[in-house]
Amino acid sequence: MGTVLTLSPKARGGALPASTGFEEFFRTEYPLLVRIAYGIVRDPHLAEDVAQDVLIAAQQRFPEPLGSDHAQAWVKVATTHASLNVIRSTRRRRVRLERAPQATPATGPEELAILNEEGREVRIALARMPRHAATVLVLRHSGLSYAEIAEAMEVNIGQVGTMLRRAEARFRKEVDHATRS
């Protein structure tokens, strides 16, 4: 079994106070981060794990994240990268993803089969793409605006359209390839 390093309090029980600025940040960002992660890993439980780990790391990096554009941008890119790391990692992990239920329990068997196949194709396509291309594509199709993508990826907003166009063309090509394989 692998492990994930996480931050922990130095000599205390570890309970977070009932409400803190970071908790508000967590609540605001978590749903979108789960969606970004799910768009890549296609496993709802794994997506939540990724989002949680990123937010735990974000707390250390941005102790006062509320109102910080940089913090908001960082967690989105970190979630994308962490999710791409998951699908690009070892064969054993990929096998696990292939076996994982990739939809919510309410999904019927036929729909689940379709979603599983679609998830496989998406993972293969994204794993074969350059990281920055996969990132811009996932961020845009998770609902981020061009301005938000430019902030997150630290590029000029004028570059986003070009990056996105190339990424989508590449994705379509990779999906076609994955479908045939």
Partner: protein, 368 residues
């Protein structure tokens, strides 16, 4: 007539009001641009089908699960622990410029070795990781290394240096030196070196060939590393390497227009300690900046990825050279650029010089 670029056509689909009126009017009246726009829209529609997903996110449950790992008052003195989790993990690392790289490198190499337990760290690709000069200074102080130790080699063929938690010692068959020809360099190192056939403008030809023998460095953890690690060691194999420098019209200080480095894949083995013990120890050092430690967790996979320094002030991006992931770094004045990648045979290549990004990539593509 100037046609509208693809990027603008793409944005026209998502954010039409953000596109200049003249471009929007052009598309309306230009059959060629309308046809391109149509093709782009078809690709967008295809991609949207794959990303039209809904996933429920239980924020309360997520927060509850994370509470134990969130801290009340974040500080750079936070300790780390290992949390059992599913069969996957994040790893990564960090580097920067200058002689202080040695210190950061030791931390990275240690974490890398820990990541693979007592087997082998043998990265098959590269990834960029940014750090600040302050990060490097903090780690340098942590490691207690002096600034005469350089990352690309050691100041003598063999020697040792005390670290706060043990002893760093290194041995090699000799120092780095110049050789007369590429054939001599290949014979001395056993590496097959590919050089570009077409040189960028301003680069006239090979100035000199240099070789660095294989260096084996050992970090022996002492009492300062605690009872669990004491007696364990990391053995790091660096090189051999061949450096080819070129002459040309442009030279700043000692930096020539182009240099090409070919180096064997670095390999690390660890003995005695376990993954968690070494990783936990290194990341728990109070001198390791929290943000760097966070990067170590979130960026790349050290089992397969060699972290590349991206200096503060420089821009960097990921690309591919002959199908292998590569990192391209351009300094902030756009005077110097570099690219580094590991090929499919496990050889790391670096191309750098007083060239723009396109020239560096052109040379890199020729090497493959």
């Amino acid at each position: 007539m100037r046609h509208v670029p693809d990027g603008t056509l793409r944005r026209l689909i998502d954010e039409p009001f953000a596109v200049a009126d003249r471009d929007a009017r052009h598309v309306e009246g230009c059959g060629r641009c309308r046809a391109r726009s149509q093709r782009i829209a078809e690709d967008v529609a295809t991609v949207e089908l794959f990303f039209d997903v809904r996933v429920p996110a239980d924020t309360d449950a997520g927060l509850a699960r994370s509470r134990a790992s969130l801290i009340e008052k974040p500080s750079r003195q936070t300790t780390w622990r290992v949390r059992p989790r599913r069969s996957w993990r994040f790893m990564g690392a960090s580097l920067s410029t200058g002689a202080s790289l040695a210190a950061v490198g030791v931390v990275i190499v240690g974490v890398a070795a820990a990541a693979t337990l007592t087997t082998v760290f043998a990265p098959t690709q590269v990834a960029r990781v940014p750090v600040s000069q302050a990060d490097v200074q903090e780690i340098t102080q942590l490691m207690g290394l002096n600034t005469t130790t350089s990352f690309d080699g050691f100041r003598s063929p063999s020697g040792s240096e005390m670290l706060p938690f043990g002893m760093l010692s290194w041995t090699s068959s000799g120092g780095a030196g110049q050789v007369a020809s590429l054939a001599d360099a290949e014979a001395a190192t056993g590496l097959a070196v590919t050089l570009p056939t077409t040189l960028p403008n301003g680069v006239s030809g090979v100035d000199r060939y240099a070789v660095m023998p294989k260096v084996t460095a050992t970090i022996a953890f002492g009492a300062g590393a605690g009872s669990r690690l004491s007696g364990s060691s990391l053995v790091v194999s660096l090189g051999p390497a061949v450096a080819v420098s070129y002459s040309g019209a442009t030279t700043i200080d000692d930096i020539g227009p182009l240099a090409i480095l070919t180096v064997a894949q670095p390999i690390v083995t660890s003995t005695g300690a376990t993954t968690n013990q070494i990783e936990n120890f290194l990341l728990s050092q109070p001198g390791v900046p929290a943000d760097v430690a966070a990067e170590i967790r979130l960026l790349g996979n050290l089992q397969t990825t060699l972290p590349i320094p991206t200096p503060p002030g420089a821009s960097s991006e990921s690309t591919e050279i002959d199908g292998s992931p590569a990192v391209v770094v351009v300094d902030n004045s756009n005077v110097a650029s570099g690219a580094i990648w590991e090929d499919h045979k496990g050889v790391v290549h670096a191309v750098a010089g007083l060239l723009d990004k396109e020239d560096v990539l052109s040379v890199a593509q020729q090497i493959g």
